[in-house]
């Protein structure tokens, strides 16, 4: 009797697969579908080479076929995990079946996205050749097989989201023991190399269809790897090998320009350096928002202060002062002036809390832009050249190294934007170091205490106003530092760049979104969030005005499904970790 009851409750807790098939058949179908999908990338998919990427060639994949190929291989990999292949079993601590479902669906969506794109652009399904149909059918077979696999992970009975939660939630994973450094360090390095590869590929996607396919597969893969528990394991691994991971990440980032050697090299490097500037600024904002808990809606003004300061002392023809400072002096001056502005703006505004602070900072951000716009010689003294801005900012020349011209390094050519990329990477490293060290110190603890409970913090002897002002000033200084590079990369600076909200980053709203979506209070969060945001904005520019709609939609979805951001704060991780140990 009890047994039956238990069986029943077991059955109720673990829902049946969507398609009733024996497990062995299901697994075989998934594997076969995945193999067919991957193999189909070597066939020709269409008759006409008019579709970008030329999918007419049999023998090797091209363009979007690479995405399908990768999707098929990933599905196959996790199907093999389901077969309990010895070494691969380590891959999915949170259960392979749900992961396989997500990957199979992901590669099918990418494949069908390609097929539909071909049909729409070339006019009709007739444009698909046999290879295309093989790909489409193969990917669907994999999905059917995956949907017949037994369901693992934590299943919830949430009626509204049943479809989204079909793959189950990642179960809480028991903490692992560290492996030897001979295993861990190579894993860290390989992860970083893969990340660099994916990022370089994504940034190099030359046409919107390719970026769309890339985005779909990356999104599903990220979901799948989160579901499989691999991300959790990797995060723990990175945490254990923090120094190696941090240094390795910067080396990997430094290698990025070397991966961009084709015709788009300069454009991609420009995108790379813009991302870095945006990310570094977001990290500065993270001190203010993520650590001290002060909602600043006018933060981009400090990037502007740094940029204008550097422009004014750069020796540009349009600048009011005809002086040319060496760059180190200009950078320090830009950071310092920005910091002073931070104090000047903070001193009056930080006396209000919460929503009021947000409104006041929003106002000050706009005041900066309008003041700069009016210091044009007619409305006021000519300092910033008004709406025209300061243009023809000369390229940097540090120790005889001319940032304006390409340099050859063995087989590689490092162009103008790539030079600035490496410079900005150095600045980003400094900003990361400042952020990481100040977080984990007496000062950082005081900021977090203020964020958590200001009354209790002052009762512990923390001078609330002073520390909030310090956070404000430090955030402003870091943004100013980023601004000094910003102006040299872009040749010019105009007031309209520094708006509260606009279709292109950097603006205050995007910066805040990058911090919140990336993960407040973390180092990597804003970096990842900023990269994602900037890349999306740059690659989806064909959407024009709909971009802002998409931006809003992304924000809503994130706040609904992952309010802690892409990279959750260490404290939140600890929270999860404690749930694990409590259960064990």
């Amino acid at each position: 009797m009890t047994d039956t009851l238990q069986l029943q409750s077991e059955a109720a807790a673990r829902p049946k697969p969507a398609i009733p098939l024996p497990t062995s058949v299901a697994r075989a179908a998934t594997a076969a579908g995945a193999v067919i999908t991957a193999a189909s990338a070597f066939l020709s998919w269409t008759y006409s080479s008019q579709f970008p990427g030329d999918l007419t060639v049999s023998g090797y994949p091209g363009g979007l076929q690479w995405i399908t190929f990768a999707g098929g291989l990933l599905t196959l990999l996790y199907t093999l995990v389901g077969y309990r292949v010895p070494v691969l079993r380590l891959l999915a601590p949170g259960g392979p079946e749900g992961t396989t479902v997500l990957l199979a669906v992901g590669s099918a969506v990418t494949t069908w996205f390609t097929l539909i794109a071909i049909s729409v652009e070339l006019g009709g399904l007739a444009n698909l050749t046999g290879g295309g149909w093989v790909a489409g059918v193969g990917s669907l077979v994999a999905v059917v097989g995956a949907l017949a696999l037994p369901r693992d992970g934590e299943q919830t009975q949430d009626a509204k989201l049943r479809v989204l939660l079909y793959a189950g939630k990642r179960p809480e994973l028991p903490p692992t023991q560290p492996e030897s450094p001979w295993v861990e360090v190579p894993v860290v390095l390989v992860t970083l190399a893969v990340a660099l590869g994916i990022f370089s590929y994504g940034i190099d996607t030359a046409y919107a269809e390719l970026f769309g396919g890339f985005l779909i597969l990356t999104g599903f893969t990220a979901w799948a790897l989160n579901r499989s528990g691999d991300f959790t394991r990797l995060a723990a691994l990175m945490q254990r090998n923090r120094t190696t991971a941090a240094v390795g990440a910067f080396v990997a980032a430094g290698l990025f320009p070397f991966t961009q050697q084709g015709g788009n090299a300069e454009a991609n490097a420009n995108l790379g350096v813009s991302i870095l500037i945006f990310a570094a600024t977001a990290l500065g904002l993270n001190i203010v928002v993520g650590l001290a808990g002060l909602l600043d809606l006018g933060y981009v003004a400090f990037l502007g202060v740094g940029a204008y300061t550097a422009a004014l002392v750069s020796g540009a023809a349009g600048a009011a002062f005809h002086v040319q400072f060496p760059f180190w002096a200009a950078a320090l001056l830009g950071a310092a002036v920005s910091g002073v502005f931070g104090v000047l703006l903070g001193a009056p505004t930080l006396r209000v809390r919460g929503d009021y602070l947000a409104i006041v900072t929003l106002g000050f951000g706009e005041i900066f832009r309008i003041v700069v716009q009016n210091l044009d010689g007619t409305s006021g003294p000519n300092v910033t050249n008004g709406a025209i801005g300061i243009s023809n900012v000369p390229d940097l020349n540090i120790f005889g190294f001319d940032f304006g011209s390409p340099h050859s390094l063995g087989w590689f050519t490092i162009g103008r934007f790539a030079n600035y990329f490496e410079l900005m990477l150095l600045f980003t490293a400094i900003i990361v170091l400042v952020f990481a060290r100040s977080t984990n110190s007496r000062i950082g603890r005081a900021w977090i205490a203020i964020r958590e409970d200001e009354t209790a913090a002052t009762a512990m002897g923390i001078n609330g106003f002073r520390f909030k002002l310090l956070a404000f000033a430090l955030g402003a200084t870091l943004a100013g530092l980023a601004g000094t590079v910003f102006v040299h990369v872009n040749y010019s600076v105009v007031p309209d760049t520094f708006q509260f909200a606009g279709p292109t980053p950097p603006n205050s709203a995007f910066l805040l979104a990058a911090v919140v979506i990336g993960g407040m209070g973390t180092v990597t969060g804003p970096l990842v969030g900023a990269s994602l945001f900037f890349l999306l904005q740059a690659k989806l520019s064909f959407l024009h005005d709909y971009q802002l709609l998409l931006f809003g939609l992304t924000l809503i979805l994130f706040m609904r499904f992952r309010p802690e951001g892409i990279i959750p704060n260490r404290r939140r991780q600890l929270e999860f970790h404690e749930a694990e140990t409590a259960e064990a």
């Binding site: 170091l433 400042v434 060290r437 100040s438 110190s441 007496r442 000062i443 950082g444 603890r445 005081a446 977090i448 205490a449 958590e452 409970d453 009354t455 209790a456 913090a457 002052t458 009762a459 512990m460 002897g461 923390i462 001078n463 609330g464 310090l470 430090l474 404290r571 600890l574 929270e575 404690e578």
Partner: protein
């Protein structure tokens, strides 16, 4: 239970020099006089109790002492110096407090909470935090050692890496005390430290307060638990409707008819345990 208590009380250091002197403190909110002409002296090595019915102005008086409120009239001096009306300066001067409704930094670990308490006793700034010189490392290590010592003192050393929010209620109270003690105060102000605790926990808190006193820290405690307060305190002051009704040792206060009428209702043998939170926080 009574034996241990009397034994500890007998060993208590004789009341020494005045530490905290509040004279004629008046706090008005518009037309409402929450605290009316209250004077109180706390000497070194003393445990002073502050009792009174709900809304009597106990927490308001506390807030006047700790700089959260600026008293309308009257002065508060600590070790002969007038206290500046800023909470962080009061802590700096050597008075630390806990809150009636626990106010921990919930998303920080237990250890970090205590480290925040060390704030006034450390001085490394932003630049040294970024440069991480030997001085910074030494101070940080020292701070951690001290913090662990305080956690050990209240019995939370094993939970140093737990998030404060995940502690059970009684331990959150202990952590608040450890955090306050980390600022190395001469006087500790406890606002209803046993609110919501069961008798065992109350008993443990009692022992903890004695142990704090034995470290040379004077304690001023607000409580509703009569047994707790009369076991613990060298002197007890009774506040009723903002005014101090009577002050004296446990026997005097318990014997005072006005107190019985205004507050206790029945003699103390009944053990009037009221844990209703006040609303004037």
């Amino acid at each position: 239970m009574t034996e241990t208590t009397t034994a500890t009380t007998a060993e208590a250091p004789t009341p020494g020099t005045p530490l905290l002197q509040a004279s004629n403190v008046v706090m008005r909110f518009g037309g409402l006089t929450a605290v009316n002409d209250v004077s109180l002296t706390v000497n070194t090595g003393e445990i002073i109790g502050l009792i009174g019915p709900n809304g009597a102005g106990k927490t308001t008086f506390f807030n006047c002492l700790t700089g959260l409120y600026v008293p309308t009239e009257g002065t508060v001096t600590y070790q002969g110096q007038a206290l500046p009306p800023k909470p962080h300066k009061v802590t700096q001067a050597g008075m630390a407090r806990t809150f009636q409704n626990i106010r921990l930094f919930h998303n920080m670990t237990v250890l970090e909470n205590v480290l925040v308490g060390r704030h006034t006793r450390t001085k490394e700034g932003l630049i040294s935090a970024i440069l991480r010189g030997p001085g910074y490392r030494r101070e940080e290590a020292e701070s951690r050692a001290k913090a662990m010592e305080y956690l050990d003192f209240v019995g939370l050393a094993k939970k140093a890496e737990t998030l404060a929010r995940n502690l059970p209620y009684g331990e959150q109270r202990k952590l608040e005390i450890a955090r306050a003690m980390a600022s190395e105060p001469g006087l500790l102000l406890l606002d209803e430290p046993t609110a919501g605790m069961n008798p065992q926990e109350t008993r443990a808190t009692e022992e903890l307060v004695f142990a704090i006193r034995d470290r040379g820290i004077a304690v001023l405690v607000i409580e509703h638990d009569m047994r707790f307060i009369f076991n613990l305190c060298d002197r007890v002051a009774v506040l009723v409707q903002g005014s101090k009704l009577v002050e004296g040792d446990a026997a005097t206060v318990q014997g005072d008819e006005r107190v019985v009428a205004a507050y206790l209702g029945t003699p103390v043998e009944g053990g009037a345990d009221s844990t209703t939170p006040e609303e004037n926080q």
